[in-house]
């Protein structure tokens, strides 16, 4: 009997929502579509500017121990070769900055004689040419590929007597000096939780006030209150169905983001791994999101129940939206997720931190469990308060 009434309410809310095409469009389809379009356009612009400005400049290539025999090989490659005053540490440092269109090539000393004396079938390793570059810098990356191609062609003609960029041991520095994918997950981990929180908030605002303050304003909730249904059933039915709608809205935005990320960071042109996150990380993110939406909806529902009408409901929810922005900025202010577990009991703050941690690949089981469980408790508390509000004649019928 008890569940029955809650289900009846949920069914009604679903019918109301899904048979209203404009409602479905504005809350579910539009957010994701807009984000996808906007982000993709942003991404396109970003990649274009990168290519046109930097690729025209010839790359400065610092070369140590340049053997004269190799020189003709580089004739066709547009680059400025620097062979003097090379300070290895300095160059490596510069390479770390993707703004610098440079590469750093190291030949073994006496390269020519080493190659001449090398026996391919022997146990000893072939002479190795190292080329450090930055794959995020288009010039550096392009020059590396050309050098690599030229040297490899030369190597083939020379019976494999030397190698290019062979990894001799695990400790040697990576030849690609960019750490862009790390940078991206860092930026994402600090930006996206805020974005998601804002999107969820707007999703909740699209359905919460209309469904609760709206029903109160129009006098339709009074009709429900004279039925034998328990107030708690009404509260639960409302919170559950509104959460579903808000989640759909948030999910739509989320999908929009995921689809536009590769474009945003023009990953395809960089041969970058577009799968920044694993499936399990996406699932964790989703669980945190779902628990967050429950808390958010219960806060907005309670405020909407107190409000006289929809207009007032949107007004008194403005502080909540400001709070979302401030809380959403915390990872940026703090430079990442906090590790203090007790802080994961603070609603919204915990969600943002948990999402940040997941996206920075730093999430721990403890903090995630704390976040999701405390959110469920807060949502339950919210439902209980909403029940009390539905039962309060001052709130429901006060003039």
């Amino acid at each position: 009997m008890k569940i029955n009434n809650t289900l009846t309410i949920i069914k009604k809310e679903f019918t109301r929502f899904f048979s209203d095409r404009s409602m479905v469009f504005t809350t579910v389809i539009m957010p994701g579509l807009l984000i996808y379009i906007i982000y993709s356009l942003m991404g396109d612009n970003m990649s274009e500017s990168n290519f046109t400005v930097e690729a025209t400049e010839p790359t400065t290539v610092y070369v140590e121990n340049l053997p004269p025999s190799i020189l003709p090989l580089f004739d066709s490659i547009p680059m400025n070769i620097v062979t003097h005053d090379i300070v290895s540490e300095d160059i490596m440092k510069q390479l770390g900055d993707k703004e610098n269109n440079i590469a750093y090539m190291i030949f073994p000393e006496n390269f020519d004689s080493l190659v001449a004396n090398y026996v391919p079938a022997s146990e000893t390793l072939a002479p190795n040419i190292k080329i450090f570059y930055n794959s995020v810098n288009d010039g550096s990356s392009m020059t590396y590929h050309m050098l690599d191609g030229a040297l490899n062609a030369y190597e083939d003609s020379y019976c494999n007597r030397f190698d290019v960029n062979r990894y001799d041991d695990a400790d040697s520095p990576s030849f690609d000096q960019s750490d862009e994918s790390e940078v991206i997950s860092n930026v994402l981990s600090q930006l996206i939780p805020m974005l998601l929180l804002m999107l969820l908030f707007s999703g909740c605002m699209a359905v919460g006030p209309a469904s609760i303050a709206g029903e109160k304003e129009r006098g339709t909730i009074a009709t429900l209150l004279v039925t034998p249904m328990k107030r708690s059933q009404l509260a639960l039915g409302k919170i559950i169905s509104l959460s579903v709608f808000a989640t759909l809205s948030g999910l739509s935005s989320f999908i929009g983001i995921i689809l536009s990320l590769p474009k945003m960071f023009h990953a395809d042109e960089l041969n970058m791994d577009t799968n920044l996150y694993s499936a399990s990380e996406y699932i964790l993110l989703l669980l945190v999101l779902l628990s967050t939406v429950l808390v958010l909806i219960s806060v907005i529902s309670n405020l909407s129940a107190i409000a006289k009408d929809v207009k007032q409901a949107s007004t008194i929810n403005i502080p909540v939206s400001l709070m979302m922005i401030v809380v959403g900025m915390m990872p940026m202010i703090m430079g990442g997720a906090t590790e203090n577990p007790t802080l994961y009991l603070i609603p919204f703050y915990n969600s943002v931190m948990a999402m940040t941690a997941v996206m920075a690949h730093e999430a721990t089981v403890l903090t995630l469990v704390l976040t999701i469980c405390s959110n469920l408790v807060y949502a339950g508390l919210g439902a209980w308060i909403l029940t009390k509000l539905f039962d309060s004649e001052k709130v429901m019928f006060g003039k």
């Binding site: 019918t15 006098g219 009709t223 003039k399």
Partner: protein, 258 residues
């Protein structure tokens, strides 16, 4: 005669907001809307609460329907206390007032099913009841029209039908004919008489004398929150017309209206 409703010492005082104080032109923050109301109603009768505007009729009925809670006193609907067992009371009554609105977006057909479900009406009974009620009020032609597209009179009829989906024994009806044209009003009053014939109890409020004379078996006269008389129509009128008798009573109780 079997008593089905007992009201004992019901009181309700509202705290007025600044705005309400202005509207009511009073400096006091408290407004006593219902003052120590006591009466009973019997099964199968139409009981009328008669009083001028602001007398406290709607407030009384809203308390009986458990929409608002009394400050003091209690009432028992078919043995169930409105204070202690509001959910049981709600299952026993059908409450109708202009305050209760239907969601614009839905059709009468959908709403009938929806409210039947909330009242835990058996599906087979529900279908039968819907058919006969819709036919009775001419809603069948509009069963699939959204409430927002219905005429005022049709909306009222749908509201009436919806409030009775669970076939309650006690019907509480605030100003049953308010805002209705003569035809619709006639449909409603005829239906109320029909319900009485079926053994239902109807508690209604009104300020219209003719309605009381036409329908009510017993009347409670309420002036400024207080029940001054409560008896059969003949006993109260004592040979006078209800209108004349009402003004006599009103004069006698003028001290109440200050």
């Amino acid at each position: 005669m079997e008593e089905i409703l007992r009201v004992e010492g019901l009181c309700k005082t509202f705290t007025l907001s600044k705005k309400q104080q202005k509207i009511e032109r009073t400096k006091s923050k408290q407004k006593v809307a219902v003052d120590n109301l006591t009466f009973t109603a019997n099964r199968g009768e139409i009981f009328g609460l008669l009083g001028p505007n602001g007398a406290g009729k709607t407030t009384t009925l809203r308390m009986l329907a458990t929409l608002i809670k009394p400050d003091k006193g209690d009432a028992w609907v078919d043995g169930c206390s409105i204070v202690a067992q509001p959910e049981k009371v709600r299952a026993k009554i059908g409450f109708l007032t202009s305050e209760l609105k239907l969601e614009d977006f839905f059709t009468p057909n959908y709403l009938f099913d929806f409210f039947s479900n909330l009242h835990q009406v058996d599906p087979s009974v529900m279908a039968e009841r819907k058919k006969s009620m819709f036919e009775r009020f001419g809603i069948d032609k509009f069963a699939e029209v959204k409430v927002k597209d219905l005429s005022t009179g049709m909306k009222q009829k749908v509201s009436l039908v919806i409030s009775l989906v669970h076939n309650p024994d006690i019907i509480i009806f605030d100003e049953p004919t308010n805002g209705l044209d003569v035809l619709t009003a006639r449909t409603v009053t005829d239906y109320l008489q029909e319900l009485r014939a079926e053994g239902k109890t109807i508690i209604l409020s009104t300020h219209i004398f003719s309605l009381v004379e036409k329908l009510c078996d017993r009347v409670g006269i309420i002036i400024n929150g207080k029940l001054t008389h409560c008896d059969t129509l003949q006993a109260i009128c004592d040979g006078l017309s209800l209108e004349d008798r009402f003004f006599e009573i009103y004069k006698e109780n003028e001290d109440l209206t200050i």
